[in-house]
Subunit: 326 residues, 2 copies
């Protein structure tokens, strides 16, 4: 039985999507067990007796706007959930709470993985090639990035792509503003030179943000600032263009009929490029398996997060990443 | 008569699109005069006698892969075109050659505008609001950025939005990975505090990349690294999603018929979000009006660049920006 500690608080939409997603996931995944941490009065509104759900009542939540460190001494639904992994009462932890606070608490409670300088957020991205995905890390855990971090993240991402995405010799790239050797910051160039000679990594080179969605890379490493800008630009651009198309299709009856006929094609595109799923990111580099869900996750987004997390658990990703850094 | 010095070399597609665009533009804009600089044998293949076109024969071009500074002493089509502005023989210069080389040569030949620390590339972006555009600077001229640069660029962009885009009290934002005061690098926070109290600028605050296309800002300032990532992410995402939609629409006859009926709607979207036009960027902060066109500009892209450049010239933007910094 795999056990997931789930901080159900800290979501803009309340606890309901978390509980509904949990019940649906457990229905389809008989070897999973959830420990829901949060306000039990709220949780019990949506959950019936379920032998694979345990509820831990913690009403205290972290102020989303608090500085990450000031909340160090307060016991919250988030810290309680993380401690379940530390104490080996859960195999993974999931939260939709504030990224900065979550990251700080993960580092404080679980500690960093051996040798790892800084953890990174790693979401999975769709591409225009059907079924083809890639991971990018970091997308916002770190503002200041060094080349050593990029090299470590390249290895963690590469192991994930191999073990979980089942890609043989995953193609690794460094996000940059050009593909020539002399482009970008000094840390880009230093990591570039080091990865070129790294035997454990199938390093291809720099990749520009305009080429990310073509699906030619399996793992892309980036400073957290640049990765975050790119992630949110994609999200905003996909939403903007789909909205613009919908508005234009509504302008004439002829267009509306056309849209009705072509509806299936649009559904395919929306399914393939659903950026709600990209909101969920593994937090790699702490001493335990941890995932961050989008702060306004709906049921579908949580199901996406569970699916990613269970892929990692079912493939024993955690053991492999731990072994690689010891 | 407004005079544009046009380096027609350094385009991946040869000189033909440059000449064809020039002839079409001159036909519709009787108060313009072009000085085409480049290989006269090539240019003369496409141009007939035109009293508003002068040709300067310079066959030497800059090696696109050369380090920017090593080409300092070679006379090329690019340097010749820039010198026409310096010597007051042209009112503006346009080139599609290498960004890094162009920037270096502009600074060497024209010098920086009084007080300006570093020039910036400033393209105009479309938004989902019909007819609404915004400018972002810098998008790649500078890797290392300080808060003083962001503040200067905010003023230059604001003047452009007011004078050329005719926006009263343009809304200015700083691109960042969150909207809270403590987000981003130190230079984000310092520029944020300074712009808050700047009387000359209508500063709104930080803006996240996912919100750029909503059209709530007129001017967005960014470090060149982040701006370049965002620009190219938008370009790649728009292209990817339109390609994906087209591929899906081709999969079934029913979809094809639907697409045919809805064709007008798609044309509107493509027109509104044509990222070929975004390739053209003003180079603000040097002592003269300069524009960089996309390295693989076609005729349409050049016409877009001419249109932007003539908007600036017709509104006497250059005088106003010069006055603001003296």
């Amino acid at each position: 039985m795999k056990r997931i500690a789930f901080d159900v608080m800290g979501n803009d939409n309340g606890v309901r999507p978390a509980i509904e997603a949990t019940i649906e996931f457990l229905h389809n995944n008989l070897n999973y067990y959830f420990i829901l941490v949060g306000d039990a009065d709220e949780i019990n509104k949506y959950v019936k007796d379920n032998e694979r759900i345990k509820i831990i009542d913690v009403k205290e939540t972290i102020d989303q706007n608090a500085k990450s460190l000031s909340s160090r001494h307060v016991e919250t639904s988030m810290t309680t959930a993380i401690k379940l992994v530390r104490d080996n009462e859960a195999d993974a932890v999931l939260s939709a709470g504030s990224s900065a606070v979550y990251l700080t608490q993960l580092i404080l409670i679980l500690k960093r993985l051996n040798k790892i300088k800084r953890p990174a957020f790693m979401p999975v991205f769709p591409t225009t090639k059907p079924g083809k995905k890639f991971v990018m890390l970091d997308v916002g855990a770190n503002i200041i990035t060094t080349y050593e971090m990029l090299v470590q993240w390249a290895l963690m991402g590469s192991i994930y792509a191999e073990i979980v995405l089942k890609i043989n010799q995953p193609k690794v790239g460094i996000l940059n503003i050009g593909v020539e050797d002399n482009k970008g910051h000094e840390y880009h160039q230093l990591a570039h030179e080091q990865l070129k000679v790294d035997q454990k990594i199938n390093y291809i080179g720099f990749v520009e943000s305009r080429d990310l969605l073509k699906g030619n890379f399996d793992v892309v490493v980036s400073d957290g600032y640049g990765g975050n800008l790119v992630l949110k630009t994609m999200e905003g651009t996909v939403l903007s263009i789909l909205t613009l198309i919908r508005d234009n299709l509504n302008q004439k009856l002829k267009y509306k009929i056309g849209a009705l006929l072509a509806r299936g094609a649009f559904s395919n595109v929306k399914r393939q490029f659903d950026y709600r799923n990209v909101g969920a990111a593994l937090v790699l580099g702490v001493n335990g398996l941890a995932m961050k869900a989008h702060g306004s996750s709906n049921k579908k987004a949580y199901l996406g997060a569970f699916s990613q997390l269970s892929n990692a658990l079912d493939n024993d990703f955690w053991t492999k990443i731990k072994d690689a850094f010891t």
